[in-house]
Symmetry: C2
Subunit: 200 residues, 2 copies
């Protein structure tokens, strides 16, 4: 199945053709490596125990990435929205079964590229490596910042930071998931929100 250009998120096109300077031919070639996929709300892109063999560009929709703790409780690592990439990074590189679940939270459109095709594309379009190195840098940096935040901010501060940096999360993600992501009990999050709202 071919991907229709007009259905692709403009950010995807801009990233590769403008920021990374792919020629028209390179971008067309790159696109042939992807397969479109739709996933319905509540279904999974990936489950723990599976090997992650592809990267998926989230063209439309949103998802949550979570792991289970020893008691079987879900622990949300992050949410993904349009223009993010889905997958289990460690499993993708190691080829071993992963620990992450990626569950779709709104009916979503994905552009999926297999590991094999990505490696082909990297050889044929060296500029792709530049994008990927830069993505790795930002991803490592984001994870470090997350660790710093988890180490240094109180529950209320974590909530306020999220409100400031990603206010759209509160429009699209159920509050109990946000509480889980922030490591706050849902009742505590409601109390914090109530208290802060009444301040204004």
């Amino acid at each position: 199945m071919e991907i229709e250009l007009e259905k692709i998120n403009p950010k995807f096109v801009e990233l590769f053709t403008q920021t990374y300077g792919f020629t028209e031919a390179e971008f067309a070639l790159f696109l042939t490596y992807f397969k479109p996929k739709t996933i319905s709300k509540k279904d999974y892109y990936l489950r723990a125990g599976e090997v992650c063999k592809s990267k998926a560009y989230l063209n439309k929709g949103c998802a949550r990435n979570f792991v289970l703790d020893d008691q079987g409780h879900e622990r949300i690592l992050f949410f993904a929205f349009e223009d993010w990439w889905l997958g289990d990074f460690d499993s993708y590189y190691s080829g071993k079964p992963g620990t992450n679940y990626v569950q779709i939270l709104e009916d979503s459109e994905l552009l999926v590229i297999s590991k094999e095709n990505f490696q082909k594309a990297e050889k044929e379009i060296p500029k792709l490596q530049q994008w990927y190195s830069s993505k790795m840098l930002r991803s490592a940096s984001a994870s470090r910042n997350r660790i710093e935040e988890m180490k240094t901010l109180s529950a209320e501060e974590r909530y306020l930071k999220l409100m400031e940096q990603q206010p759209h999360i509160f429009q699209r993600i159920p509050l109990q998931y946000i509480a889980c992501y922030l490591n706050i009990e849902p009742q505590s999050l409601s109390r914090i929100r109530h208290r802060l709202t009444n301040k204004h």
Copy 2:
């Protein structure tokens, strides 16, 4: 000041000459970009508010990387030992003042390479980029694993995992720092250790 080859950690030599296949000439050139530096116990390689303008290979010794929370409490992100690289990643890339303190915990020997020299070396020895990409991947992966651990493991489990994976830490790092790293109160860590010791 020139670096004497026999004083360099064999892991450093092996990494670049064997794993990444630097020729003798490339390795010799690479070494000219480094400056040796010794730092005494308790002194700092880097403080929050400073711009991190170099990478430092920890040839001998150990260090801790920490941030301060709003109340001014130290929060330890990780410990570094021989064959690690010191610095504040975000500050290095952004050129802005960083948030991390890097404090030396034993009299240490560093091999320091400035950002400028590293960029020169990358151009002259393209194999260096391969090493660096792979390092980024592993670093991003380690940070993600750390987040998963912080999200899913109990205090006792975090302690046991550290004992299993990095037992040397307990020989070289004061227990109150390990407690801080594990997000456990020092008294709780002592209790956990006491209880587990008495089990055997």
